[in-house]
């Protein structure tokens, strides 16, 4: 049974419908990336799955059950969400913030039990924050803060991890750092990861499954080789891309691109040949 299925949903803000009749199945224990131009509805899709936005029609199914019918705390035990612009108030330590990830597993006023402490320390360790765990959040760099939020989501101990642009505003090294961490979590912990990324090459390199969106609908979906083609990129982003193979993953990457629409697609397979 698929872990996460979006079934013919309609979502929008006020009177403005963004997504109408979208269905998609997220593969289990894989990394899935949603991409598309600004305003294509990818964040809207993620927010509907995260139950931040109300779905007008259709349903999001978690383990085959409509999320509308599940208690939100039960959902939070299976699915953790990292919003796009999470900002912690000052005066909290890393440990404090990460410990809130245990909320769905706690009852009442929430004293930390042994398994809570275990999950928190594991999350801090696996995100490489052990050295910093006594520091207040405001003393951390952007990349470290993003790790703290990921640690909080990990402390939630869920099968599914949803991240809205986890690498935005980070420099190149820190972007890679976060993606490698997610790859490790997928490989070693079997997490199902769904995220929105703007960097096509990162998406192709780290994803098993890609979903390309435009105007609130899915244009194409599948493995990076099938999604990252000149024709698809032309259709989704209106760009004329020159593709190559990633030396690390062998998946297609975009070497460079321009906006002209007429020129022939030049597919380079330099790394392969």
């Amino acid at each position: 049974m698929p872990v996460l299925t979006v079934d013919d949903i309609e979502v929008g803000y006020a009177n403005n419908t963004i997504i109408d009749g979208l269905s998609v199945t997220i593969p289990e224990k894989k990394i899935t990336t949603i991409l598309g131009p600004n305003g294509c509805g990818k964040s809207t899709l993620l927010k509907s799955v995260a139950r931040v936005l109300k779905i007008e029609r259709g349903a999001v199914l978690l383990d085959g059950q409509s999320m509308k019918k599940l208690p939100t705390k039960e959902i939070a035990k299976k699915m953790a969400i990292l919003p796009q612009s999470a900002e912690a108030p000052s005066g909290l330590t890393i440990f404090d913030l990460v410990s809130y990830g245990r909320f769905p597993h706690q009852r009442g006023f929430g004293s930390l039990k042994k398994e809570d402490l275990q999950a928190i320390h594991w999350a801090i360790d696996v995100t490489g924050l052990s050295e910093l765990k006594e520091r207040p959040i405001e003393a951390l760099s952007g990349g470290q803060r993003q790790r703290v939020w990921i640690a909080m989501a990990l402390a939630q101990d869920t099968e599914i991890l949803i991240l809205d642009e986890p690498t935005t505003y980070l420099d190149m090294a820190h972007q890679l750092d976060i993606l490698l961490l997610l790859k490790k979590l997928n490989e070693e912990e079997g997490k199902t990861i769904v995220m929105v990324l703007h960097d096509l090459n990162h998406a192709s390199r780290f994803s098993h499954y890609m979903i390309a969106m435009k105007d609130g609908a899915i244009v194409t979906e599948g493995a990076p080789e099938t999604v990252m083609t000149c024709g698809n990129l032309q259709q989704v982003f209106n760009i004329q891309a020159t593709l190559a193979a990633c030396p690390f993953s062998q998946n297609p990457i975009c070497l460079s691109y321009q906006l002209t629409k007429e020129t022939e697609c030049l597919q380079q397979t330099a790394a392969h040949s």
């Binding site: 995260a50 931040v52 108030p89 809130y100 769905p104 929430g110 320390h121 594991w122 949803i162």
Partner: protein, 346 residues
């Protein structure tokens, strides 16, 4: 969970400052009791602390000093403490729930709304028992808040902190003007005057008996919500992701805020800034966890208003300086400081 746990080392250090919070709660309570004693003993007729003690614990109705204490000074100082608790905790809740560092029941129109509805009560239902007055005060606080959010939401670009403050100022000015109009037209200026200035001199046991249960329930509710409030202060999406029913939290949070602000205004009038200053000071001292911010704000708020009331009586005796003016004296510079910072740190 493959990694073994090192629980022993530094598990205290890695959390934010509960030690400071416990110190504030214990030290604050001791200071509060001492200040209440002092406040009772000084006044138009100075009474020594020993007499204060016997008046409270071995009341003798024949002694004048005992009567002054029992009938005037004790309810007044207890009222001051309760009002401080109410304003401070409602401010803390508002700041946490809305992530708006400038939230305060005075700045967001709750106080003016409550005072307005109370003015209507004085004009049209003179002699309405306090038991009902306080209910109208809750209603008025809701009216003020509703108007401010309504005006703020109409503007394009959503409810930014600054826009809410502007809406709050406009709505407060309007409601205050209307209240004053009612006061003049119905010649109830005398009854209302002490309110705009803010004053605790009229506090009686009857008021305390009626407001205390409301406040107690609201405070227990605030403590039960405190963890959820901390999560909301991370942002609504984070709170939803963690499995919080944010609608429920906001609903009960709003009701608690209205009860606290309404109860305080019904006794002291539209005194602002306590709810702005105290939560910021508390956050500076104990960090961002509302499980500590709420109880510590309550105690520091009580201290501030008891001291302000004491000062109100001592600055220019035998006249009383309006307590609202005294608190604004420190509140306004503090507001300007926060507004200048843009309130980034929430």
């Amino acid at each position: 969970m493959a990694v073994s746990v090192q629980q022993s080392k530094g598990s205290k250090k890695e959390r934010s400052r509960p030690v400071a919070a416990v110190f504030i709660i214990i030290g604050g309570l001791i200071s509060l009791v001492l200040l209440i004693g002092l406040s009772i003993s000084y006044g138009a007729a100075d009474i020594d602390l020993a007499t204060v003690w016997t008046a409270v614990f071995q009341f003798n109705p024949d002694a004048t000093a005992h009567q002054i204490i029992q009938e005037l000074r004790l309810p007044r100082v207890l009222g001051a403490a309760l009002v401080g608790i109410c304003f401070a905790v409602s401010g803390a809740l508002m700041q946490g729930m809305t992530r708006n560092p400038l939230a305060d029941s005075g700045l967001l129109g709750l106080n003016a709304g409550a005072a307005f509805v109370l003015a209507i009560c004085f004009a049209f239902f003179p002699g309405l028992p306090y038991m009902y007055q306080i209910l109208y005060s809750f209603l008025g606080a809701a009216l003020g808040a509703g108007l401010v959010y309504g005006v703020g939401a109409v503007a394009k670009g959503g409810l930014t902190p600054m826009r809410l403050i502007l809406a709050g100022a406009a709505v407060s000015a309007l409601l205050t003007a209307l209240s004053e109009g009612i006061a003049i037209y119905y010649r109830i200026g005398q009854d209302l005057a002490f309110w705009y200035a803010g004053g605790l001199s009229g506090t009686k046991w009857e008021h305390l008996q009626i407001m205390t249960p409301w406040i107690a329930v609201a405070l227990i509710g605030a403590l039960l919500l405190s963890k959820s409030i901390t999560m909301l202060s991370f942002g609504e999406e984070v709170a939803i992701g963690l499995g919080q029913r944010t609608g429920v939290t906001k609903f009960f949070g709003a009701i608690i805020i209205l009860i606290l602000a309404g109860a305080a205004v019904s006794v002291v009038g539209a005194v602002g800034f306590v709810g702005l200053i105290i939560p910021h000071v508390t956050r500076f001292l104990v960090g961002s966890d509302y499980r500590w911010i709420i109880p510590c704000s309550a105690i520091l708020g009580a201290l501030l208003v008891v001291v302000a009331d004491f000062a109100a009586r001592m600055v220019n005796p035998p006249y009383e300086t309006p307590i609202g003016a005294l608190i604004a004296f420190i509140g306004v510079p503090f507001f300007l400081y926060l507004a200048r910072k843009g309130g980034r740190e929430l």
